[in-house]
């Protein structure tokens, strides 16, 4: 069987303006949402708070649960349905973490038992103190930073076969970050600065493929974060894991296309025909770019629909990341490399 014919020939780069516009819209929407919501919607993992998942043996009104909770005088309480309606399962969240009498979950359970008349089954309790939240946030950002750093080093070395240069790049990057960290700047700023420095270095050193890959990577992660912010979904530890996996995985498609482009360049094309060569490479690898993403999406959808509520957002983040990553390898990474080629 063959879904994508081998003689397929789509003028992808002719449509790069459409791709550019689409990416720009997605980025602007993401940025807008992040600005309006004042950053990602951090879950209790990162800001501290308490989350209690309760299950009732029969249907209860959310308003009754709320009534019970108001007596406790908690800050920023929210109650929401969890999972299927027939499960009678609810998620209670509050920014309180200092446990009053050491047992917030127990007092929540007893007061909603009073207000609803049914004793809830406490299925899950997560309490994160503000200090731990800070620590976890720092760890998460460090993890993102280091994976970007190592992947940058790897792809600049591997794509351009200039390990020396990539070593220099990494050295420069680490030095710059070290100096910035002396001034105690915040982690998000540090990561942004590191990325800007990386891109500037690639530009000057003319590491075209590495630059294309990194821009596509930033594009994918940023839009995934933006969509999460837009849909007001919680940003928790598993989502960080999903983002890192996306960073690693979305490169797969880019690598497939880039390898083919380089293989074809070796054939010795004149510079005028680069656009054609890029198009040819993308078309030749199109079936495997799409199929690899398809198989991954297949299992991710299984996880999304059958894996249960706890893993739901993780699967969702991965689905967005894989789709955006496939799109960006064709419409972001390749046009950038082409532009860089045409320039120099």
């Amino acid at each position: 069987m063959q879904l994508i014919k081998s003689d397929i020939n789509i003028d992808f780069l002719g449509k790069q303006k459409i791709g550019f516009a689409l990416s720009l819209i997605l980025i602007i929407v993401s940025m807008g949402s992040l600005i309006i919501h004042k950053g990602p919607n951090y879950g209790i993992d990162f800001v501290g708070g308490t989350l209690v998942q309760v299950k009732f043996s029969q249907n209860v009104a959310i308003s009754d649960i709320r009534k019970g909770l108001t007596q406790l005088g908690l800050k920023d309480v929210s109650v929401q349905d969890f999972g299927q309606a027939e499960d009678n399962e609810y998620l209670i969240r509050t920014s309180n973490s200092e446990t009053m009498e050491n047992n917030l979950a127990a007092s929540i359970a007893s007061s909603i038992k009073e207000s609803t008349g049914i004793a809830p089954n406490i299925r899950r309790v997560e309490m994160v103190g503000p200090q731990v939240g800070e620590d976890l946030k720092k760890k998460a950002l460090l993890a993102i930073f280091y994976s970007l750093l190592f992947i940058t080093i790897y792809i600049s070395g591997r794509f351009e076969l200039k390990w020396m240069l990539s070593g220099v790049t990494a050295g420069a990057l680490m030095t710059a970050v070290y100096f910035l960290s002396i001034f105690n700047v915040s982690m998000p700023f540090l990561i942004t600065a590191a990325l800007v420095i990386t891109l500037a270095l690639y530009w000057f050193l003319s590491l075209k493929f590495a630059m294309g890959a990194i821009v596509a990577l930033i594009h994918d992660v940023f839009i995934t974060v933006g969509i999460f912010s837009l849909l007001n979904l919680d940003f928790s530890l598993p989502i960080i894991a999903a983002l890192l996996t996306i960073i690693g995985y979305s490169l797969n498609d880019t690598i497939i296309v880039f390898d083919r482009i380089r293989e074809n360049i070796k054939g010795g094309q004149s510079k005028d025909l680069f656009t054609e060569l890029f198009n040819k490479s993308i078309n030749e690898t199109l079936s495997r770019t799409l199929l690899t993403s398809f198989t991954t999406l297949l299992v991710l959808f299984a996880l999304f629909f059958l894996g249960g509520e706890i893993i739901h957002n993780f699967a969702f983040a991965m689905i967005i990341g894989v789709i955006i990553g496939t799109y960006s390898s064709i419409f972001v990474a390749s046009p950038i490399v082409l532009a860089a080629h045409n320039r120099g």
Partner: protein
């Protein structure tokens, strides 16, 4: 041609090893190492405690103040007040220059751990600001954390949790993993109890009401007793004016156990060692007709009037305990008090029913995803798809074997990692097969196409997997608990899929092509 080549034997060896490692998880066979389920799958409690070990430093300074006063009194050196300051120093004011020499002698002889700075002389006296060296302070803090760990371990052991994992994390944190806890509230209460038992005299010379309105007299403090009205269930707090001096504390206990009074009310009977019994004998003898407050974690439990000298070193703590409360208090007292209070700064508890649900749903989506992939590969690549499917099944066996062999913990995100691997493992096969098809289109023979396909796809596959592996390694380094489980299965999955795609699949192709004369390929 040979059937048993070195490479095939190696593949077989790896597969058999993985199966042997995996078997004990399902049957009771050698090597008896099963895959550990994380707390999110088997249910249990994850706690991070912060030992407030600066309190241990304060207690040490408080002790020094107490001893210093006693020494100065014995030596007849007059002072205008010695007290612990907020910034962990001791401020000592002497009456005049003539006391300086004697004071410094006592400090250097008896309190060698305190630094003696030059005194500040003012009109109203000479003030010394004594402090502990930083190294000493760090040592006290470190010891407090270690001692807290030991105490909590003892309490957990007595409480009866199978396979608890308790360890120090960072400078002052203790991480507890308690699988299968059925009553998390009770466990938390037991762990968090400081269990600082003290015997202090009630100050009956001054009125409590006056002290409440103004400040308590020097050397006394106000502590409360919680009294519950059995009819209404309301708790009232009764203030007591108690002398700060601790006559006897829980460190000299040798036993604590639950007892019942004539009304079947639970109470805790305690017994002191010989030294403790001697002290108890003396203080009860010296303070007849005075009230002795039994104080636990700064709460008065009872304050009976001493009727007579009590020899034998036995006492009771009463206070309307439930049987469970009394039992846990006895455990806490037996295991010893915490050197400093602890605070729960992170808790993640998963009930056993939710854990079971997570396992069920995780396995369901794994099977569903697996079947979808297997069907797709057969439909799209026919017989070659079957080889990819075989490789996929081997891949899952390898991950399982790896988890068991490394004694890694399988968590819910870990199951997600396996599911993700199922989707990503066939990626390598897709890349190879597409390349083989391409080679076939160029008119190459089946054998040449397969060789060309594998050869040209290998580097791309390696690259693509290395970047994901980097992400997995970083996640393993920075992740905690469940996320670490994800990093483990993802990492194992990547390595396994490199093996199954580049070594196993290729070997199967070679085997088929070697035994087949025809040059057609079902792909």
């Amino acid at each position: 041609m040979k059937v048993f080549t070195f490479k095939r034997m190696l593949i077989l060896g790896i597969l058999v090893t993985a199966i042997v490692c995996l078997l004990p998880t399902f049957f009771n066979t050698w090597p008896h190492k099963t895959i550990n389920l994380g707390l999110d799958l088997q249910g249990g409690m994850h706690l991070v405690l912060e030992v407030q070990n600066e309190k241990a430093v304060e207690a040490e300074l408080e002790r020094s103040v107490h001893e210093l006063k006693k020494e100065l009194r014995d030596e007849g050196i007059k002072h205008l007040g010695i007290s612990r300051q907020k910034n962990n120093t001791i401020s000592a004011r002497l009456q005049g220059e003539e006391n300086k020499e004697g004071f410094e002698k006592i400090i250097s002889q008896e309190f060698s751990n305190l630094l003696i700075p030059s005194p500040v002389t003012a009109t109203d006296g000479v003030t010394y600001t004594l402090r502990l060296p930083d190294a000493e302070m760090d040592m006290i803090k470190k010891l407090a954390t270690e001692q807290a760990l030991e105490t909590i371990r003892n309490r957990i052991d007595e409480f009866g949790v199978s396979e608890p994992d308790i360890r120090i994390q960072g400078d002052n944190r203790i991480l507890l993993q308690l699988p299968g806890i059925t009553d998390p509230d009770r466990a938390k209460n037991l762990i968090g109890k400081t269990a600082q038992l003290t015997f202090q005299l009630v100050n009956d010379d001054a009125s409590v009401d006056n002290a409440l309105k103004t400040t308590p007299p020097v050397g006394t403090e106000i502590l409360y007793q919680n009294k519950m009205d059995p009819a209404t269930g309301n708790v009232t707090k009764i203030p007591f004016l108690v002398k700060k001096q601790v006559l006897l504390d829980g460190s000299l206990l040798i036993d604590a156990r639950i007892e019942f009074d004539q009304f079947q009310q639970a109470q805790v009977g305690i017994e002191f060692n010989r030294k403790g019994a001697r002290i108890f004998d003396r203080i009860t003898g010296q303070n007849i007709q005075k009230r002795l407050a039994i104080v636990l974690d700064k709460t008065v439990y009872s304050a009976p009037v001493i009727q007579d000298r009590i020899a034998g070193g036995k006492a009771r703590i009463t206070g309307r305990f439930t049987t469970e409360e009394a039992k846990d208090l006895a455990i806490a007292l037996r295991a010893g008090s915490l050197p400093a209070p602890v605070k729960i700064i992170e808790e993640r508890t998963v009930g056993p029913t939710l854990g079971a649900d997570s396992v069920r749903m995780g396995l369901l989506s794994m099977v569903a995803g697996g079947i979808l992939i297997i069907l797709f590969m057969i439909i799209y690549y026919k017989r070659a798809g079957l080889i990819a499917d075989l490789a996929l099944i081997v891949n899952i066996i390898l991950i399982g074997g790896g988890l068991a062999a490394f004694q890694a913990t399988l968590t819910l995100p870990g199951i997600a990692g396996i599911i993700l691997t199922i989707g990503m493992a066939v990626d390598a096969n897709v890349i190879i097969y597409e390349r083989i098809r391409e080679e076939l289109r160029f008119g190459k023979t089946a054998l040449a196409a397969v060789h060309g396909g594998f050869e040209k796809a290998t580097l791309t596959i390696l690259d693509a997997n290395v970047t994901t592996l980097i992400a997995a390694i970083v996640l393993f380094q920075f992740g905690t608990g469940p996320i670490k489980g994800f990093a483990v299965t993802l990492g194992l999955g990547i390595i396994a899929s490199l093996f199954t795609a580049l070594v196993l699949s290729k070997s199967i192709f070679d085997f088929i092509l070697q035994n087949k004369k025809s040059s057609t390929l079902s792909i």
